[in-house]
């Protein structure tokens, strides 16, 4: 019996000592939190709200190893979802967040993120000139004073086509997606923003308002549509809906649908296009694929970026810069484009084959500036209504 008692006593003593150490640690670090968080206080954690494909295992491992930090990602789907999450849940939850198009400026304007110090990202030197803030202005705030984001990959919402099924003369225009010859063989993604914006370009073209003077005095932006254009967009979307097989929710589904030859044309971020191209080369599919990055009416584009949350403390801000820098390092970056299948913003041609250079748009960085960048809808309420009407039709 006495042995048992001794045992409990000593265990309790150990627990006590541990708790004391932890409390002391918390005190030194100035963290008032419960001392159970001891282990986490010792290893700084970088908490990211990000797109899943960029969580590349090797880069993360290198980061965690080099900076003795923990990489803690949360994934999201669309820009507005992440924006809502930060706006509602607060910036305390995250140290870094990703966005594209015009969104980084909005985050900054709303005080959700803070400016980046490019001086701490020496690997920006490897980035194509087209993706520096002086040329790609959306990386800086409106006044051009602060760099609000760092680029990470780019692409469009171009149309991937099964060339064996779609006639050559039908390719090249957004109109293809309304061609009733191919009824039941289209698919678009399920997000309201891309659907409305892409069809908005076509609507403005048809109405002839695209290149005329705009109400806001700025050049045409498919996210700033007039009510007439929105009405036409809605009409087109309703017309298009009858032709759709489904709206794909995930790339697995789109891949499968294209491989099964159920879907012949679909606007997408060129992910499926790249996968199918590789499969074609390996002889695993029996049809050719092509990708129209910029239809003749105009196309949507995006540059994914990294931002630092306004609430990140100095330690985590340092870590965030270190992460961006490591991510843009050429050896790591090759892995990024290969695993994501997106266009690369870092010049890694020296590490690639000719095929890869073409596949990952390494020679086409200039085209990015010709695309309409993703933006916040001028009125989420109006867009919501249009989308509901389309979905209900």
């Amino acid at each position: 019996m006495p042995t048992v008692k001794e045992g409990t006593l000593s265990r309790r003593a150990v627990l006590k000592r541990g708790a004391a150490t932890a409390a002391l640690g918390a005190l030194i670090l100035g963290r008032p939190g419960p001392y159970i968080a001891d282990a986490q206080a010792a290893t700084p954690t970088l908490r990211l709200l990000m797109w899943q494909p960029y969580a590349i295992k090797e880069t993360i491992a290198a980061f965690e190893d080099k900076f003795k930090a923990k990489f803690a990602p949360t994934f999201f789907d669309g820009n507005s979802e992440a924006f809502n999450k930060l706006k509602v849940g607060g910036t305390r939850d995250f140290d870094m967040v990703m966005a594209d198009g015009f969104w980084p400026r909005l985050y900054f304007r709303q005080g959700l993120t803070k400016g980046l110090d490019y001086g701490k990202i020496p690997n920006m030197s490897g980035v194509f000139a087209d993706f520096h803030p002086d040329k790609f202005v959306l990386l800086a705030d409106e006044e051009g004073k602060n760099n609000v984001a760092a680029p990470n990959c780019w692409g469009g919402y171009g149309i991937t086509i099964n060339s064996s099924m779609i006639a050559k003369e039908d390719v090249g225009s957004i109109d293809l997606l309304l061609n009733s010859k191919y009824t039941g063989h289209f698919s678009t993604n399920s997000r309201f923003e891309e659907n409305i914006a892409l069809m908005g370009i076509l609507a403005a073209t048809k109405l002839g308002t695209k290149d005329g003077p705009r109400p806001d005095g700025k050049p045409f932006n498919p996210y700033q549509l007039t009510d007439d254009e929105l009405a036409e967009t809605k009409r087109l979307l309703i017309e298009q809906k009858k032709l759709l097989l489904t709206r794909y929710q995930d790339y697995d589904a789109l891949d499968r649908l294209m491989r099964a030859k159920s879907v012949w044309a679909a606007p997408e971020f060129a992910e499926s296009y790249r996968k199918l191209t590789v499969l074609r080369k390996d002889g695993k599919i029996d049809f050719d694929v092509e990708h129209v990055l910029k239809p003749k009416e105009g196309g949507l584009g995006w540059v994914d970026t990294w931002m630092v949350s306004a609430d990140a403390d100095s330690e985590r801000t340092e870590l965030a810069h270190a992460w961006i820098n490591l991510f843009l390092e050429k050896e790591n970056y090759v892995r990024v484009v290969r695993s994501t299948g997106y266009g690369g913003v870092v010049d890694v041609r020296s590490l690639m084959t000719e095929d890869e250079i073409a596949l990952y748009f390494q020679n086409r960085s200039a085209e990015a500036s010709q695309l309409h960048m993703f933006d916040q809808p001028s009125s989420p309420e109006k867009w919501e209504r249009i989308w509901s009407d389309v979905e209900a039709s």
Partner: protein, 273 residues
């Protein structure tokens, strides 16, 4: 001895067992598909089969999934325990101490069944985030999940406990058992299978809950939220591997239960011959 009635009864019984079998096939086909795909080189196009265990290697290589699994387990266990405790206490209260307020208590406990998960998730988010200014965390996720879990647990425990003879507790008390001791010695041994069932159901509901947890978790990944986040880009084979492992474990537990029941070592509350 077989009369016409017996034969008809036999046919009905056979038909019902076939329906049950088909239901299991229907329910488990996607599970088997997940397991099959987890061993497949290309989960998008797993035919013709070509096998690999890469997904499993990746799974153990990536801390994201273990974090998500851990968080899912925490939410499942937390919500399961909380739900079972609330529900058991509630059922005992309602059954043992008749009162005019009983109907109100019943309604309160079963109310969550009439509120869709989506609504629970969204309203908790709206309340916590917009009104209280609280960021999502494990506790809010556990609480929001436990609401639904409590209702389910209440239903399960209630269904079993209506048959319990509370005089048994009177007997124990007269012979010197305090209420707690009485619960432990007499009530619990009789009702544990239903408590276990209630815990299991509320655990499972919370463990894999997407719609409630999604809106209440802020930065904390769980299995369903990882699945959701990676959806746009295609579900990682690791998720298939993880699901396959989970199911392997579940099947193993069931196989063990079957053996125990078969040999009659444990009856799990079954009182027949």
């Amino acid at each position: 001895m077989t009369s016409v009635g017996d034969r008809a009864e036999g046919w009905r019984r056979l038909a019902m067992s076939v329906l049950l079998g088909l239901l299991y096939v229907f329910l488990y086909a996607p599970i088997l598909f997940v397991i099959y795909a987890s061993f497949s080189e290309d989960i998008v196009w797993p035919f013709p089969p070509s096998f690999t265990t890469d997904a499993y290697a990746e799974l153990f290589d990536n801390s994201l999934y273990s974090d998500a699994l851990k968080n899912s387990l925490i939410i499942g266990l937390g919500s399961g325990i909380l739900s079972t405790l609330f529900a058991t206490a509630g059922v005992i209260g309602v059954l043992r101490f008749p009162s005019r307020r009983r109907a109100l208590i019943l309604i309160a406990f079963l109310a969550p069944l009439f509120v869709a998960e989506l609504l629970i998730g969204i309203s908790s988010l709206a309340f916590n985030a917009r009104l209280l200014g609280l960021p999502g965390n494990l506790f809010s996720a556990i609480a929001a999940n436990a609401v639904e879990g409590t209702a389910f647990a209440f239903l399960i425990v209630l269904a079993q406990l209506v048959r319990y003879d509370w005089q048994m507790d009177d007997a124990a008390m007269v012979f010197g058992a305090s209420p707690l001791r009485c619960f432990w010695e007499v009530t619990l041994p009789a009702i544990w299978p239903s408590l276990f069932g209630a815990f299991l159901i509320s655990f499972i509901l919370a463990f894999n809950n997407l719609e409630i947890s999604f809106y209440n978790l802020g930065a904390i990944p769980t299995l369903p939220s990882v699945a959701w986040g990676s959806l746009r880009f295609g579900l990682g084979p690791e998720l298939f591997a993880l699901a396959a492992l989970t199911n392997g474990l579940v099947f193993a537990v069931f196989a063990l239960m079957y053996v125990l029941m078969r040999t009659g070592i444990v009856k799990f509350g079954y009182r027949g011959v």
